[in-house]
């Protein structure tokens, strides 16, 4: 799961908030990153269940 930090002050979430992929459903995430609104924080690989 990738999480993103809100960098700008005109998004629907307050500046500084950390949001996840699920919060961004239906949105163009790449455009938000390109536009400086969001910054990817981390990307944790999911473990395969054995």
């Amino acid at each position: 799961m990738t999480t993103y930090k809100v960098l700008s002050d005109n998004m629907v979430w307050p500046q500084g908030t950390t949001i996840s992929d699920s919060d961004l459903e239906g949105l163009n995430v790449q455009a938000l990153v390109d536009g400086g609104h969001l910054k990817a924080e981390n990307s944790k690989p999911t473990k395969d269940k054995e």
Binding site: N10, L27, N28, A31, L32, G35, G36, H37
Partner: protein
């Protein structure tokens, strides 16, 4: 008579509130009209088809961080969600929200539509298609 006057409409594009840069917004909720007229009928008959929505937003261009250009440029040729409200306040029966999801942006006019000297460039965005949902709470 409680008519509504647009003074502080809210326009959110791709989860970014650009209301303070919006000059006008026109949302058109439309459903395709499919003809089902058959022999023996004396007039045209229609049935409903798919939604065929459109949202046209005119914005003042602003190249500063997180403003018009930063928000819009990378949206061209993709789909996103646009939310429009008559007023920026809480959603209610008298201030419904209209959420247009999966709507496509085909073009963007970063230097305005005419590009004349001395002109304030206006960005006109036409979002087409997508699914419109109205909420009152």
């Amino acid at each position: 008579m409680a008519v509504s006057v647009l003074k502080n409409a809210s326009v959110t594009i791709n989860a970014v509130d650009l209301s303070s840069l919006v000059e006008s917004v026109v949302l058109t909720f439309s459903i395709d009209q499919l003809e089902v007229t058959a022999m023996g009928m004396t007039g045209h008959r229609y049935d409903d088809g798919l939604q065929s929505n459109q949202c046209v937003v005119n914005l003042y261009q602003d190249f500063a961080a997180s403003k018009t250009e930063a928000t819009v440029y990378s949206l061209v040729g993709t789909t996103t969600t646009v939310i429009v409200k008559p007023d920026s306040g809480a959603v209610s029966a008298t201030n419904p929200s209209y959420t247009l999801s999966n709507t496509y942006l085909a073009a963007h006019t970063p230097l305005g539509s005419s590009g004349r000297v001395g002109e304030m460039p206006m960005v006109q965005l036409t979002f087409t298609g997508g699914d419109l949902v109205k909420a009152t709470s």
